[in-house]
Amino acid sequence: MEQFLVWLEESRLSAAIAGSLFMYPGILAAHGVGMAVVVGLNVAVSLRVLGVARMLPLAAMAQFYPMMWAGLWVNVATGVLLAMAGATRVLVDPVFFLKMAVVALAVLNMRRLKRELLRDSGRPDGSELPGAPGDSPTWSKRSISVMAVASIVLWGGAITLGRLMAYSFYRFWQ
């Protein structure tokens, strides 16, 4: 395993990234922008679900998801490059694996939330606030609000774990 990590880190792609003054921070910068897009838009949608700017039609918020997926793909690509370039440090870090687990949960939650947003999108009277009378039982105000809160908590957790990856002073297990 150790040899594989060393091989990854010493590969030509990794060397190109690590060797240039601008490549590695450039990739990190793209990762940061992707983060702002994904987390930011998720939080914006969550805020709406939780009651901010109620005049915004709930189902229409789903139109921001393509931008969110774009941000996510940018972060997957940059993340892979970053993990490769620092393989011996990143791929043995329990904090990294915890972050991946949290991101996975956040993405699953994102997909569920989107499905819920679009579930009752064909309503003729325009009432799209969760919990309105005549709602189908599947769209309960509580469940969509829980997903909105979960989104904020999970993405906040991903950001925190990402930052923790850069520091090692607290790692008592090493």
């Binding site: 003054l21 601008f22 921070p25 990190l28 910068a29 940061g32 922008v33 983060m35 702002a36 897009v37 987390v39 930011g40 838009l41 998720n42 939080v43 914006a44 805020l47 709406r48 901010v52 700017a53 109620r54 005049m55 915004l56 039609p57 229409a60 918020m61 139109q63 921001f64 931008m67 993405w155 906040g156 950001i159 925190t160 990402g162 930052r163 923790l164 520091y167 002073f169 607290y170």
Partner: protein
């Protein structure tokens, strides 16, 4: 840039360092930096998400949303900005050892300039009445060209701020 940093700022930071010894405290308690950076990133995500959503709508994304209500998300973006400002000040104060690494940092100067320009951009948007004009636009409506220019500039500037921030530890006083 000889105007920067202004002497009052340097004197102020020297006073804080002498009185509270905050830089030493930060140096000994690394977790403060981690918490500060985490909050800084959360603040910037909040800013990009809410103000970004508003900008994106003006540029034509998510067209079935009315523009006015989207503006109600903007105060949350400002809260994100304030969080970044507070944590940012903490970074500067906590990193001040006689002179400050940030003041000689080209990336820091560019970052501050970009933030200033973003603020001017918002000011122009409100002062020229564009903000009020787009607030009444409903689902399916296109924003006027001026508003699109403001929106595009806003997005570009905030992305530039993030990128400059990322380069702070790299460029340092290299130039």
């Amino acid at each position: 840039m000889d105007l920067f940093p202004p002497t009052w700022l340097v004197s102020g930071l020297e006073w804080v360092q002498a009185t509270t010894n905050f830089p030493e405290f930060v140096n000994q308690n690394g977790w403060i930096w981690v918490v500060g950076e985490t909050l800084h990133f959360m603040g910037l995500s909040l800013l990009m998400g809410t103000i970004g959503a508003f900008d994106l709508r003006m540029l034509g994304m998510a067209k079935s949303l009315p523009i006015g209500p989207l503006q109600r998300l903007v105060p949350w973006g400002l809260a994100g900005f304030v969080l970044c400002l507070l944590t940012g000040v903490m970074f500067i104060v906590g990193n001040f050892w006689g002179s400050n690494a940030y003041f000689n940092n080209i990336a820091f100067k560019w970052k501050m300039a970009a933030i200033l320009l973003a603020g001017i951009n918002v000011l122009m948007f409100e002062v020229t009445g564009m903000g009020r004009a787009v607030a009444v636009l409903g689902p399916g409506a296109s924003a006027p060209v001026g508003a699109k220019v403001v929106a595009g500039t806003s997005l570009l500037l905030w992305v530039a701020v993030i990128v400059c921030g990322r380069f702070l530890p790299i460029l340092g006083d290299a130039f």
